[in-house]
């Protein structure tokens, strides 16, 4: 009998970025880098564990925009092209570093990993990584949960319930389309919970979600077990609270593992370091330098540009050590909680999936070591998914979690502040008009139906919380502003054209071909009286 559970949750998400109209759109590289550095390494990690007979458990959200991109043939094709170029570069790098033994092994590593990535992506999964994740779900090791349809920030949509409902309903149906069954759980975008939204989850068969620690801690009435057991909301959906201690060990800029001096440094990339003539084919087509992902240095003291060479072997040993440390800390935590609880505590540790691999290059190796160690070595800790926990512990306290998010300061400030508050009047107006349209046209066919569906897509894409987040954090702001405006402008035009029964078909076709998320969408999800 174990004395506590560890529930690892990786939230995999990227905003919907797909620009058929441009040949080399930098933002599409967000996806490409995440595939190479995070998604494929995680899939390799799961595969290795399965091959070794390690019966691990992990929970992952795959958001609808991410699944849409991973299954989009244009992006798959572009990724493959991107990967082929990288492999070509890694081959040249093997030659180039021949007389520099301190870098040569790392060059060989890149060539080997990239070649392997290509084999996995193209040959094993036919360019469709959703298939890979589904495989591990079907094996019972991975529980995939959904997320708001376009990562919409629900508490700031509060006034338009049908819009909130649409984010949930579409998420569930999209999950089913890709994964062959209904989702049991959801990761609310930015972990943002608004009391009452649980009812919508219940209506769509979703049995659990997550909140930040204070969502549970400030629940009403008081939660007997703190964040160490889920609550049932009055509508019967379970809410799991984030364990802050385990989060901090990974997230914290000072104490966190990713800052260790043996790990790979992000800020030295050959895309910037090497001669332009040599690197030109692998950077942006305009000649602007950017990260290629090939980096040879390890994290060295801040502020200096003279970084030490990266040593993969040493880094992997450190990742293993950190996994051991993480497990040890959880075991101590569980021991301490034993005195306070009359049931095994569950420690819920959610992270952005892209942390592992992209930000923290050795992150997937850390996950691998952790899953293996806890499964095989730990006497007091057991890996678990939320569904399994609820099956084992069906009786839980009933309380309504408090409004909260996992953003800075714990509420909505990141998404509602001076740089991004201007978007809400437009998002709200569009939501209001979408509901009006759905009510006005309960039955319709042909071009008008297409236009109504497209209007719904434009609204959904505009609602992605990523845009407000980017405006706040201050990088690539023009892109986020443009995306917000474009989707709102396209929505407004559709609204007017539909109202006047004057939809311009060629214009509609163009917009459909660009903003092509949710092919199965039915605009009537916005009907107000359901």
């Amino acid at each position: 009998m174990s004395s506590g559970y560890l529930c690892l949750v990786l939230h995999a998400h990227l905003p919907y970025v797909r620009h058929p109209e441009h040949g080399d759109m930098m933002e599409e590289r967000w996806l490409f880098e995440a595939i190479t550095e995070t998604y494929i390494p995680l899939i390799e990690c799961y595969q290795k564990l399965v091959d070794d007979g390690v019966d691990f458990r992990i929970t992952m959200s795959l958001t609808p925009p991410l699944m849409a991109m991973l299954t989009d043939s244009l992006l798959q094709e572009r990724y493959l092209k991107h990967l082929d170029l990288l492999i070509e570069l890694s081959e040249k790098e093997v030659d180039r570093t021949r007389w520099m033994p301190e870098y040569h092994d790392t060059a060989l590593m890149y060539r080997e990993r990239l070649t392997r990535a290509r084999r996995l992506f193209r040959d094993e999964y036919q360019c469709n990584l959703v298939r890979a994740f589904r495989k591990f779900q079907d094996l019972g090791n991975l529980e995939i949960i959904t997320c708001c349809a376009t990562h919409g920030y629900l508490p700031l949509m509060e006034l338009y319930r049908p819009a909130v409902r649409a984010q949930i309903e579409l998420a569930a149906s999209d999950y089913e389309r890709h994964l062959g069954r209904r989702p049991r759980g959801i990761w609310l975008a930015e972990c943002a919970f608004n009391p009452g939204d649980d009812k919508l989850l219940a209506e769509h068969g979703i049995r659990f979600f997550f909140t930040d620690a204070h969502g549970i801690l400030h629940a009403h009435p008081r939660p007997r077990y703190g964040v160490f057991a889920p609550l049932f909301t009055p509508s019967g959906v379970a809410a799991f609270g984030r364990d802050l201690e385990s989060s901090k060990q990974v997230w914290s800029a000072e104490e966190g593992y990713p800052g260790d001096f043996d790990y790979r440094e992000f800020y030295r990339d050959i895309g910037f370091d090497l001669d332009l003539d040599y690197i030109r084919p692998y950077i942006h087509e305009s000649g602007i330098r950017l990260n290629t992902g090939i980096k040879y240095h390890r994290i060295t003291a801040r502020g200096t540009n003279n970084k030490e060479p990266y040593n993969r072997r040493v880094a992997l040993a450190k990742a293993e050590m950190h996994a051991g440390h993480f497990m040890w800390c959880r075991e101590r935590q569980v021991e301490h909680l034993e005195n306070l609880m009359d049931r095994p505590p569950i420690l819920v540790s959610p992270y952005d999936a892209e942390l592992f691999g992209h930000w923290w290059y050795e992150g997937p190796d850390f996950i691998h070591a952790l899953l293996r160690k806890v499964t095989c070595d730990s006497r007091s800790l057991e890996l678990i998914t939320p569904s399994e926990y609820l099956a084992k512990h069906p009786k839980n306290q009933i309380a309504m979690p408090s409004m909260s998010s996992w953003g800075h300061k714990g509420y909505h400030e990141v998404w509602l502040e001076g740089n991004n508050d201007w978007i809400y009047r437009h998002l709200h107006k569009a939501a209001e008009r979408m509901i009006e349209l759905a009510d006005r046209y309960p039955h319709t066919e042909g071009t008008r139906r297409r236009a109504l569906n497209q209007a719904a897509r434009e609204l959904l894409l505009a609602q992605a919380s990523d845009w407000a987040f980017i405006m706040k954090t201050g990088t690539t702001v023009p892109y986020a502003v443009k995306r917000t405006k474009d989707h709102c402008v396209r929505f407004t035009r559709l609204y007017h054209d539909i109202s006047a029964d004057a939809v311009d078909e060629s214009w509609l076709a163009e917009v459909e071909s660009r903003d092509n998320i949710f092919p199965q969408i039915d605009y009537r999800i916005y009907t107000s009286s359901r």
Partner: protein, 425 residues
């Protein structure tokens, strides 16, 4: 831009000329409008490619797609059926066009917020030919970029106020007051009183009551200037309900309601006082659980690093940087390119002078396309024409570089050995 210029053309016209134009467009109430108001009313009708004095021939080709224009006309003609909708639509249109036209005029400066980043005019980089559609061909023509993007209106011609929670202590409110509402107010209280009236936000504590306008637990007023359109409210009371009225206080001290917001409830900022008797636990024990859960450290955990992560993920991978800083050297020294080596010095001129020199060696050659070539014993891939190129980073020291080729039959070979000595002083 063209629309802006036409708006300028309107500005150059006399009021009489504008009036005649308004007559042609059947603008209602035109005789009462000032010159500025006439310009505002006429702006949406001014086409980018038609002379202003020939409105009958107006054909909107660019900024306002023709279908949308005809839609607008239809709406005007339907007005009697659907007066409200048409009114709000035309309001929205007018505002929309106003913002588009604002570029070349001096009006449109009613926005209070700092203006949002100017819209990028597409992502075309100068190296690539722009997509130009010279002549629309009905079935193959694709709409140009300009028809898929645009500016957002300042408002939608509604009179409304919306209140949103930000955190246990703060809320955000935004509002919009339709021009016709302003005029009604002006009429109702008189020009003089209106001009001297104060715009206020009246914030009510409506915790656990059904608000009827009079029964709030308490309220306070915030004076705003007439042009403001949003505000952050320091409510200071977690777990309470609030509602806001936007109104006018007349010189006589009377409060006139313009719009009332939705009600919100701020979240709790500590644990609930209510204990469920089924799940009862000693107070100190609960405190310990609360502490172990990180309860005294709420919200201080992960925000910063997540932000940094996201920055890292998106950093440098932005066409925004590309099209706004376009290909100039500015791109290389801008903050968005925080990179090692080559560009770092750009930010600290004179303070931190530096120099990096690296050397590389290129070995290239050619042989029969079907031959086998090794360099220092390692196989080299030949191009289809039998050429090959290798590029080595060249550290200090001595390198023997035997290049050996063996023909396809394996019975002939050639070896050439460049020898390189590199030293750095």
């Amino acid at each position: 831009m063209e629309r802006g210029q036409k708006a300028c053309d309107l500005k150059k016209m006399s009021r009489d000329e504008l009036y005649k134009l308004a007559q042609k467009f059947s603008i209602k109430g035109r005789s009462a409008l000032t010159k500025e108001q006439l310009i505002e009313q006429l702006a949406p009708f001014v086409a980018s490619d038609a002379p202003v004095n020939a409105p009958a021939e107006t054909k909107n080709s660019e900024a306002v797609p023709s279908s949308e224009k005809s839609a607008a006309n239809k709406r005007f003609s339907r007005k009697s059926n659907d007066a409200d909708l048409a009114e709000s639509l035309s309001q929205a249109r007018r505002r929309h066009d106003k913002t588009t036209a604002a570029a070349g005029t001096e009006d449109g400066s009613t926005s209070v917020r700092k203006p949002v980043q100017p819209l990028m005019t597409g992502y075309e980089d100068s190296a690539r030919p722009k997509q130009v559609i010279s002549r629309p061909i009905p079935d193959t023509a694709r709409p140009g970029e300009e028809r898929l993007t645009g500016e957002l209106p300042l408002g939608y011609g509604d009179t409304r106020i919306v209140l949103q929670v930000r955190d246990p202590h703060w809320a955000h409110t935004y509002w919009d007051v339709a021009e016709r509402t302003r005029q009604q107010l002006r009429k109702a209280i008189g020009d003089d009183a209106y001009d001297r009236a104060l715009f206020v936000l009246r914030v009510y504590d409506v915790t656990d009551i059904t608000f009827d306008g009079l029964n709030a637990h308490s309220y306070y007023d915030i004076h705003i200037f007439e042009g403001a359109n949003n505000w952050y409210l320091n409510l200071g009371r977690p777990n309470c309900a609030f509602l806001v009225d936007l109104g006018l206080i007349t010189p006589a001290g009377e409060f006139i309601l313009i719009a009332r917001s939705n009600a919100i409830r701020t979240p709790r900022d500590t644990y609930s006082e209510t204990v469920d008797d089924q799940w009862m636990v000693l107070d100190e024990e609960f405190r310990e659980i609360y502490r172990a859960s990180g309860g005294f450290n709420v919200g201080a955990s992960s925000g910063e690093l997540r932000q940094a992560l996201s920055q890292r993920l998106t950093e440098q991978l932005s066409s925004g940087a590309l099209s706004s800083l376009a290909l100039s050297s500015a791109a290389l020294s801008s903050e968005s390119v925080t990179s090692p080596g080559l560009v770092r010095g750009g930010q600290q001129k004179g303070k931190d002078f530096w120099l990096v020199v690296n050397t590389e060696l290129i070995v290239y050659g050619a042989t029969e396309p079907d031959a086998q070539v090794t360099v220092q014993g390692r196989q080299v891939k030949l191009r289809p024409d039998g050429t090959f190129t290798l590029r080595f980073a060249l550290p200090d020291g001595h390198q023997n570089i035997p290049v050996r080729a063996v023909n396809a039959d394996g019975d002939m070979e050639r070896t050439i050995t460049p020898i390189v000595e590199k030293t750095t002083r």
